[in-house]
Structure formats: C-alpha cells, structure tokens
C-alpha cells in the first residue's frame, strides 16, 4: 500500500500555509453593502462530487476549532465568513458589510448584516459575531493564533461589531475571510452538528465520518450567487491511488489531486488540469546557531549545501519534472521574489567543497538527518549521495510519522526534508518561516536584519514593504537559511461540466469558485 508524501504534505500545508497572515493586498475599508459574486443566481446544478485529501480533522465541524487549507470546503459549505476574499485575495463584504480601523489601528469596526438567519432560525447579529470571534481565539483550531492579537470583541449595537486588538495586526481582515471568520449559531455551540448561515447544510444521515460528507443546498441562502449546486458530496481519499482510480472511473467532478503520477491518463479521461505553484520542496537548515550541528552555524557550510544539491536532478527524479527549480522560499507571485536570485546556487560540487574547505570542514563532517516513511526514500538516497559527494555524511535515522513534526518544530534536528507552502504575501512568509516566533524557524534564532525587515513589512507603506520584502528575500537566500530545490505544481482537476478558479494563498480553491460550466 502506498502512502503518499504528497498527501501528507498537502495535509500539513493546511497548518503551514496559514500560520501567519497578511493583508498587504487588503483594502483598509469597504463601503459596499452587498456581496458581489461573479456569477448570477442561476438555477443550481444538481450535484458536485468533490475529491478531498483529508477529513475535517480534530475540530470536526465546530466553527471555533475548524482547520482551513485543504479542509476549507467543509467549513465554507456550512458557514459564512464575516469577509469574503476573491481568488486574488481582494476583500469583499460578506456577513460584514463594511469595516474600518480607527486611527490607532487597534480598533476595527465592522458593520454587520441584519437580514441573515441561521438555518436553525436563530438571527445573526453583531453579538453572535463577537461570540464567534472570541470562541475561535480561545478554541482549539490549529490556526487559533490568527486571532491571537484580539483583545476583545463586542457588539456596540446589533449591526456593529468592534474588535479591539492588543497589537496592530495587518493580517486580521484576511483571516476573517478564512476559518477565523466562520459564524456558527450560538444554539449549536455545544452541539457537534453544525448550524451556520452558509450555502449548504450537512446531511448527517448521508455522512460517514472521515469518509463521505453530503451537503444539501440551504434553500433560504441569503447570497444565492455563491451557491451553485443542489447537493455536494465530499469524499475523502487518503490514498492517492484510489483518488486516481476515482478520477479515471469518472466518479468525481472536481478534486485536489494528491498523487504523484497518472496526470496524462486523468486528462485523457476527460478532466482539465488546473495547475498552480503552491509550495516549495527542499531542506530546512534549522540549526543556524550551531546548537546541534556546529558546522551549520557557518554560512559557507549552508551555501555549500545549496551548491551540493542537484536541484534539476531532484526535480526530475522526485517530481517527474513537474515543477520549477528555485533557490527561494518566496513564491513567484509574492512581493520580494527575484528572478535573478534563481541562479544564485547552481549545482557545483567543486565550489561546495571549496566553501567547506574555507569554513574549516575540508575533511567533511557528519550531520544527523531524520527520515520519515511519508517522504519517498529516494529523496534521502539522492540527497545523502549528493551531500556525501562533497564530504558531508548524512547520518540518517528513522522517525515515526506522528513524531516528525515534533522533531522538526521542537528544535530536535539540525536539518530536515520537507515541503512547505509559498504564501501569497511576504508578510505571511515572514511569519511562517523567518520571524523569531515563526514555527518553521524551529530554533527561533533571532536575526536583527530579518527582524527589522519584518517591522517594515508590518508597518510601512506598500512601496516600502515591497522593497523590504525584496531585501529580506535576498538576505535569506544569501544567508542560505534554506535549501529550496523546486516549486512543486499543485493540480486541481475538473470534469467537462465543472470549472474552477484557484485561490491565491490557499491550496484548495474556495468552494464557491468551483462552478458548473455554462451550457
């Protein structure tokens, strides 16, 4: 039985993507008072069979505890968010009609719709919104930190929600368009059965937990332009081979594909492949302070590793050539990305050996390197061989899948192989991988230069932020904090009756952007 690294990585990306957030592309206020769907409220298509790579997870359907990323469609089926994001993350009204920060940037006022009712009949108002905000902040969602800066949320009147922050948070509005903005009926807070205002209702009688989830259209949905189907069936495929079979057997209308191969056959079966670069794969050189592996503290050693790895070779061998070689953790659409930096670390074992020699490791050194079953063994074979070619001995040891994240994020390994999200914005990238508190800065090394760029990203005007992003990215590449190999391609398939618009910054397209084709 094959367990896919890709499937595991896609699942992991849920948490990775969304550790941090940004709103550099977020308007500071909005005056529109009605939602602006890009499709008219035509008659719904009867059924959407959607392929999922994972189940809702530990949060179930409790809005305050739900995950996002690959699991976004579950929540988006049942719950509306306060704000809605377009595919390129422009923010539009949803349950909130308008929003505005005060001059300190610490108080956000949102106008709340007064004509929306939960599917259990409970009216939605600002007080309900305040309760949901505080519940998510205090809940067990893996992204509860999205609202970590929320000091309080109160309804000043039934149509005005006031959120007070303990510190400025440019990510807040974008997060309110994600799981942090889900609105659940207070009457169902203590009931695992979800009750929202959203376009669909979970049909529990036709749902098998962790396997198949059936949703039926909410007949009284207040924003019918975002509801496209009478029924949606979401089927979980933990095994990419079975998802491939379901696609080849034309059992799915749309699916985020978790497999490594079979792309041509799936297109041959009549599907359209929507491809987008969503993540990068490579080595995380965690121990830049040299706590566990002293050589890694020397930038020349980290640069040597970057020269020692044959990125193109790995792309062909491990990803079948589906991707683009890169040196950067910043995505192609992220501000700060530089085409010039892509050639910074060509494959050059000779140069790598020289750099190691300069650093005093001409005789090589040994580094502890964890392996895990969901990363294909070929990855470790090839990387181990290429490191050995320049004198670095990777001392591999097996880590159980359930312990791998703990080992990486707990600062227990100097180096690891992983696939990580390339967020839409530099601010997200900073908070995910670079800030001193960032989860993927596992040793939480403080770097004054990086921190100063972080401050600029958070507070400066957009032009300065872009400049800061460029300089931050160049600094990270030069300091070789990571050893990216390539940007991988995420593939979302739709059949002839279905179309999709992928979402910038989220691996799973938003549910309302999966639509029936016209005619």
């Amino acid at each position: 039985m094959k367990f896919s690294y890709r499937a595991a990585a896609l699942g992991a990306i849920g948490a990775l993507t969304l550790a941090a957030c940004s709103s550099t592309d977020t308007p500071s206020d909005a005056e529109s008072t009605s939602p602006t769907g890009d499709s008219s409220a035509a008659a719904n298509a009867p059924l959407l069979n959607l392929g999922m790579v994972d189940a809702p997870g530990q949060g179930g359907f409790v809005a305050a505890d739900m995950s996002f990323a690959t699991k976004a469609p579950y929540g988006q089926a049942v719950y509306d968010t306060l704000i809605r994001a377009t595919p390129d993350n422009q923010l539009e009204p949803s349950l909130a009609t308008a929003w505005e920060y005060d001059e300190t940037g610490l108080v956000l006022s949102l106008g709340i719709r007064d004509d929306v009712v939960f599917t259990d009949g409970t009216p939605f108002d600002a007080d309900v919104a305040a309760q949901n905000i505080l519940r998510f902040r205090d809940g067990a969602a893996e992204n509860a930190n999205w609202l970590a800066n929320v000091a309080d949320a109160v309804a000043t009147d039934p149509t005005t929600l006031e959120i007070t922050l303990s510190a400025p948070d440019p990510a807040l509005l974008l997060n309110l368009s994600r799981a942090a903005g889900y609105q659940e009926s207070p009457a169902s807070f203590d009931d695992p059965a979800p009750v929202g205002t959203g376009p669909y209702v979970l049909d529990e009688a036709r749902t098998v937990t962790d396997a198949t989830y059936t949703f039926t259209a909410n007949a009284d949905y207040w924003a019918p332009e975002y509801q496209h189907y009478d029924e949606i069936v979401m089927t979980v495929f933990e095994d990419p081979v079975s998802m491939q079979n379901a696609l080849l057997g034309n059992q799915l209308d749309a699916a985020l594909y978790s497999g490594y191969d079979g792309f041509d056959q799936i297109v041959g079966a009549g599907y359209t492949a929507h491809e987008y670069a969503q993540d990068w794969e490579g080595l995380l050189l965690f121990d830049r302070g040299g706590q566990l592996s002293e050589p890694l503290a020397d930038v020349r050693v980290r640069q040597a590793i970057n020269h020692a790895i044959d990125k193109e070779g790995l792309l062909q061998a491990l990803a079948g050539g589906r991707g683009e070689v890169t040196t950067q953790i910043f995505g192609k659409n992220t501000e700060g990305f530089s085409e010039e930096l892509e050639s910074r670390y060509p494959y050059d074992p000779e140069l790598a050996r020289e750099l190691l020699d300069e650093a005093g490791y001409g005789d090589g050194f040994t580094i502890e390197f964890p392996t895990v079953s969901f990363v294909p063994p070929a990855t470790f074979d090839l990387v181990g061989q290429q490191l050995a070619d320049v004198g670095i001995t990777a001392s591999f040891y097996e880590v159980a899948p359930q312990d791998y994240f703990g080992v990486m994020l707990g600062g227990q390994t100097p180096i690891a192989s992983m696939r990580l999200e390339q967020p839409a914005t530099a601010w997200e990238t900073y908070n995910l991988e670079l800030a001193v508190s960032a989860p993927w800065n596992a040793f939480h090394e403080f770097d004054e230069t990086v921190a100063s760029y972080g401050e600029l990203l958070q507070s400066s005007v957009p032009e300065e932020a872009t400049l800061a992003a460029s300089e931050l990215n160049a600094h990270i590449v030069e300091e070789a904090w990571f050893n990216p190999w390539y940007r991988t391609v995420t593939t979302f398939y739709t059949d002839a009756e279905t179309d999709v618009t992928p979402q910038v910054g989220n691996i799973y397209p938003y549910l309302w952007n999966i639509v029936p084709t016209e005619g």
Partner: protein
C-alpha cells in the same frame, strides 16, 4: 452444549481483556505527541498542553486505561480524537460495511471452494491439475494486487463496476452490486484458493475410506456418495480453514478498502493508526476480537451440526 458455549464466552472475554490491555499499552508506548499532531505545527505550546489535558494525556497510564475500561464496560468507548464523533458512531456505520464484504467473500469462498475442490477431487486428471495450479496462483498473488488489477481493467477500462466508493444494499441494491462485486472478488480469491485445496485434500482422504467402498458396494450413486457423505465428512477441516479465512479477510479488508476507498473498518484502521486516534483504535480492537471469538464459536457449532462425532463438551 450450554456448558461449552459458556466456557467459550468466558474464554473470549478473557481474550478480549488481555488483547485490549496489550493494545492499550502498545498504543501508549508508540503514540508520540498526539496533541501536537492533532493540532498541527502552528499551534502554540499552550494550545497543545490544553489539548493534551482535554484528551487526558496528562494522566498516568493506569488512570487512562481504567477510565477507558470502565467506559467500555458500559458501552461508552469515548470520542474520536481525530473527528470528535463518538467511537460507537464512527464504528457503527463501518462495521456493517466491512462485515457485509467479508461475509460475502466468505460465502463466495465457500461456494467456490466446494465446487472447485469437489471437481478436482472427483474428476482428477487435467481438471485436478488445472484447479491446483489456479489455486496456487490465487493464493500467491497478494489481495491488493488483485484489487488494483480489478480496478484498472474491470472498473476503469471496461467500466462494468465502480472504481471506488460503496453503496449500502439498503440504499440501492444495484448500487451495492456496482460497488461491492470487485472488492468481494478481490477478497475472495485468496479464500477460494486456500479452501479449495483443503476441500480437495479432505475429499481425497475421505474417498479412500472404507465406508465409501461400502456405500459403493451397496449401489449408491457416485453423486449421492460425494455430496451426502464424503463432502459432509470432509467439511470439518475445510470449515476450520474457512474460519481462519474469515479472520484473515478482516485483515485483507484493510488493504482492499483502501484501494476501493470504501468507508469500512479497514480504512478506518489505517486512518486512525496514522493519527494515533487511541479511542477509535481500541474500539476497532474490541470489535475485531469479538468478531473473532464469535466466528470461532459459530464454526464449532456448525461443525457439531455437520458431524455429530464432534463433541462440543
């Protein structure tokens, strides 16, 4: 008979206790940082600690096991850590799916084996040799490979059956046929192969016995001797193999359900093991042990019915 059943039930309960205790201990040793894995890499340490406390992971092993055991005795197997649904609810919908597939596969195995085994034993010659070779191949090819070949050629290329998924017979019988035939076939191939060999061997042994010659001398037809006497006497060892097959098929369902994306006990076993969902895994252990005990008891009773010489007490 009553004493026999009581004794077997008591030994089954003892077995259940021993296996569940061992499973709980093994899960305790190998579970890793469950709270961290459930919450993901971006959760704060405080969140992880709160989750661990919520799940009772901060309690000593004995306390956790005692809580689980006392709950289980009252039918409360707790709540799934991975999905928050009650374990009984998670298992409830799935046990019937797996049992339907496995029982169907056992029936197919039994019928197929009786036909092929009888044919091989009574005809001999090329029929026997062909059936033996085919049985050997059937026993040698792994179930998952058969499952994948069936999906590729029968479901995808020919389009005769669904490639993945499962429809309950209560919802739609034709839907059930569409989704269940291939997994049942994949499960049954090894069963047919193994039991055929057993039926063939037992029948050949029986045919050499004196009572068969006596029956022949008394003028009974060959058909009557084979089906009314030889097959009945040969059934005892075949039934034992069939019982073992039932238990093996429960294991085989893990792989087959994964290939066909069937929401059964097997698929749940994989997913709950990967997430370290202890309450669900323990629920699966209990259900599986109970099934094994029940099947063994049932086989004993059938054997007594088929062959009065088998003394249960």
């Amino acid at each position: 008979m009553g004493r026999f059943i009581t004794r077997r039930v008591i030994s089954g309960i003892s077995l259940l206790f021993v296996i569940s205790s061992a499973a709980y201990l093994l899960l305790y040793i190998s579970s890793g940082d469950v709270a961290r894995n459930l919450l993901g890499p971006t959760a704060t340490d405080e969140q992880v600690a709160a989750k661990a406390a919520e799940l009772g992971l901060d309690q000593p092993l004995l306390t956790r096991y005692w809580d689980w055991l006392t709950g289980a005795l009252t039918g409360d197997f707790g709540t799934s850590w991975a999905s928050r649904a009650p374990v009984t609810e998670v298992l409830g919908g799935r046990v019937s799916v797996t049992l339907t597939l496995v029982i169907a596969a056992v029936i197919v195995s039994a019928l197929g084996a009786i036909v092929l085994g009888t044919l091989a034993a009574s005809r001999g010659g090329w029929s026997d040799r062909t059936i033996q070779v085919v049985s050997l191949i059937g026993a040698a090819v792994p179930g998952f490979l058969i499952a994948m070949l069936l999906v590729l050629f029968v479901a995808i290329d020919l389009g005769w059956f669904a490639a993945t998924g499962y429809v309950r017979p209560t919802e739609s019988f034709s839907g059930w046929i569409q989704t269940a035939v291939l997994p049942i076939t994949a499960l049954a191939v090894a069963g047919v192969a193994a039991v055929t060999q057993q039926v063939r061997g037992s029948m050949l042994d029986e045919q050499r016995k004196d009572y068969v010659r006596t029956l022949e001398c008394r003028g009974l037809s060959r058909r009557s001797i084979v089906f009314r006497h030889v097959l009945r006497n040969a059934a005892t060892p075949a039934l034992n193999v069939l019982a073992l097959m039932f238990i093996a098929l429960l294991g085989g369902a893990v792989v087959v359900e994964q290939v066909f994306a069937i929401p059964g006990l097997g698929k749940l076993t994989v997913s709950s093991t990967l997430t370290g969902d202890v309450p669900v895994i323990m629920g699966i252990v209990v259900v599986t042990v109970m099934l094994v005990v029940a099947v063994n008891l049932l086989i004993d009773l059938i054997q007594a019915w088929l062959n009065p010489k088998v003394r249960l007490s």
